[in-house]
């Protein structure tokens, strides 16, 4: 457990630092070694180990902390089953966009990841599948060429191995700094998904906070089954843009997972802690399906 804790502690600290930078909580945590940490949502002191055991859900206020891609993989898949693919695939700066190189390096240093997406081969309840997870800590999880390529390859692996595919989205949308090429990643990922779909394979899309713009308007909304984490922000256009267009207040709960479920856009809203159980059940249904229809 201690190793486990060490591995995760840095991420809790990272999140809290990040949150503090945004100005919502200006006190430094006074507790040494981050044994306890202050929840940025409810200000309660939380035993860090408890927080991690509870899948980064505050035991006091129930709010969901954003999860890194690695933590999400640990939470969802069988322990030590994950084999990463395309680990070294990274972004370049196709537009020579000023400041983009520096932003990439900074995000890489802060997160220890090469890109905002990690994909690979794993097992959930012993069922093998392809898993891809986006990481909103890395440039808001925005999708540029590198992520598009990683997702395309993950889909190809899934087709090759005739396995189900799970993608956990958390992204602000297309990556602005790569311009039109980012827009084309929407087309690219959907092109591959069309092939995946024709192969009769299952694609479960899990939407987490936030899933918007070019990611929601491409592969993320095309799951055979679409799950969304409680309270997650999901939508196409940004709230501010909509407000400027309609010049009136937005309805309560607009663009939350619950709002999308009420409007028939997703299959279900899930608790973070139930995610693997729900996914495992769905995977099992699809393992057995061939026995019930004649070909």
């Amino acid at each position: 457990m201690d190793n486990f804790l060490d591995k995760h502690r840095s991420r809790v600290v990272y999140f809290q630092e990040k949150y503090r930078k945004r100005g919502k909580n200006n006190h430094k945590a006074e507790i040494p070694d981050q044994l306890f940490s202050k929840c940025p949502f409810c200000q309660e002191l939380i035993y860090t180990k408890t927080l991690i055991e509870q899948a980064f859900v505050c035991p006091e206020c129930g709010k969901y902390y954003p999860m890194s891609a690695r933590d999400r993989i640990d939470q969802l898949t069988d322990s030590d089953s994950f084999e990463e693919i395309d680990r070294t695939l990274t972004s370049v700066n196709p537009l020579d966009f000023p400041g983009y190189n520096e932003k990439l390096v900074q995000a890489q240093e802060e997160t220890g990841e090469r890109e905002a997406f990690i994909g690979g081969w794993a097992k959930i309840d012993n069922i093998p599948l392809c898993v891809g997870v986006m990481d909103s800590h890395f440039l808001m999880g925005s999708m540029g060429s590198a992520i598009g390529e990683k997702i395309a390859r993950l889909m190809e692996l899934s087709i090759k191995r005739k396995s189900p595919l799970l993608i956990v989205s958390s992204s602000g949308g297309a990556r602005m700094q790569e311009g039109i090429l980012s827009l084309m990643q929407m087309a690219k990922t959907v092109a591959l998904l069309t092939k995946h779909n024709e192969s009769g394979l299952l694609f479960i899309s899990l939407l987490t906070h936030p899933t918007t713009g070019g990611v929601s308007a491409s592969f993320a909304m095309l799951g055979d089954i679409i799950l969304a984490e409680k309270g997650a922000l999901i939508g196409f256009a940004g709230k501010r843009v909509i407000q400027q267009t309609i010049k009136e207040d937005l309805p309560d709960g607009f663009q939350t997972a619950e709002f999308l479920m009420d409007h028939g856009m997703i299959d279900m809203v899930i608790d973070r802690k139930n995610a693997s159980a729900v996914i495992s059940q769905l995977l099992k249904f699809h393992e057995q399906r061939k026995n019930h229809v004649s070909n």
Binding site: S91, F97, E178, L181, M184, A187, A217, A237
Partner: protein, 273 residues
């Protein structure tokens, strides 16, 4: 072609109030055009106009984003910003084209998909995603022409094609320069300054391998001589379709998917290959 002008100039040409909209182009290309309305699910979105027409005797389904010209028209057409029902109508007509084995011509001119409460409630993201997906499976040739503004997902949703043409002063971008400046620099008034860095002109887009052909415009913009580029547009479309109709349908789809599969620039260490 006229001398190279800064990107912001092109943005202004593309948005010029006197620049012809899709309706004008359809009038020229297919004088016998019959409009077909509605998505059969919710409404008829006038931001997208669709129907059947013949171009020099070649019958095709034509689907266009229409901004309208007068103020009343512009409001009725939502300034060319489609709601989900617009994309759903477009896909209904595209599938119909597949059934009756006629090609699809898309004419693109939109600032982007409509940002509104109702558009979100009715699934704007899903509608765009499903549009893209549908176009990757339709077994009939698709040609798209970006007439003026190719705004983000709103343009991409009807912009998956076997052959993609762009007008010289048209733009194709991830977001409007205003939106781009607002997101990256928190100041929409910097639009003019970011337009160049966004690489949104036809030459840039051709350079990135996203389009196949650029159609030259009259000097000083298309609005100066509305009919001048029309024969060129017609020729380009017919030439592309005459070539595409010889490609077996299975291969057509394979090639379409491969074309988009290749898009993007990235780096990879030897180690993982």
């Amino acid at each position: 072609m006229c001398p190279i002008e800064p990107a912001w100039k092109k943005v202004q040409y593309a948005r010029h109030p006197l620049r012809p909209t899709a309706k004008k182009v359809i009038e020229y290309l297919a004088p016998d055009f019959v409009e077909l309305k509605g998505d059969r699910l919710y409404a008829n979105d006038e931001a997208i106009v669709g129907g059947i027409g013949s171009v020099d005797g070649y019958v095709m389904t034509i689907i266009a984003e229409e901004k309208g010209t007068s103020i009343e028209e512009r409001i009725r057409h939502h300034f060319g910003m489609p709601h989900p029902e617009g994309y759903r109508k477009a896909m209904r007509l595209a599938k119909q084209a597949e059934k009756f084995q006629r090609p699809v011509l898309f004419l693109i001119d939109t600032p982007g998909a409509y940002p509104g409460v109702e558009a979100e409630e009715r699934g704007q993201a899903e509608a765009i995603a499903t549009s893209i997906k549908t176009l990757f499976s339709i077994k009939t040739p698709i040609v798209s022409v970006i007439l003026s503004e190719g705004g983000s997902g709103g343009a991409l949703a009807i912009g998956i094609a076997d052959y993609l043409i762009m007008m010289e002063n048209a733009t194709y971008s991830i977001l409007s320069p205003e939106g781009f400046a607002a997101i990256l620099y928190k100041d929409a008034s910097l639009a003019k300054d970011v337009a160049d860095t966004m690489k949104l002109t036809a030459t840039d887009i051709l350079h990135f391998g996203v389009i196949d052909e650029i159609i030259p415009e009259p000097e000083g913009g298309w609005h100066r001589e509305v009919t001048q580029p029309m024969p060129l547009i017609k020729q380009a479309i017919l030439k592309a379709l005459n070539r595409l109709k010889t490609v077996p349908l299975e291969r057509l789809i394979e090639t379409r998917i491969k074309r988009y599969r290749k898009m993007g620039l990235y780096f990879e260490d030897e180690e993982s290959q």
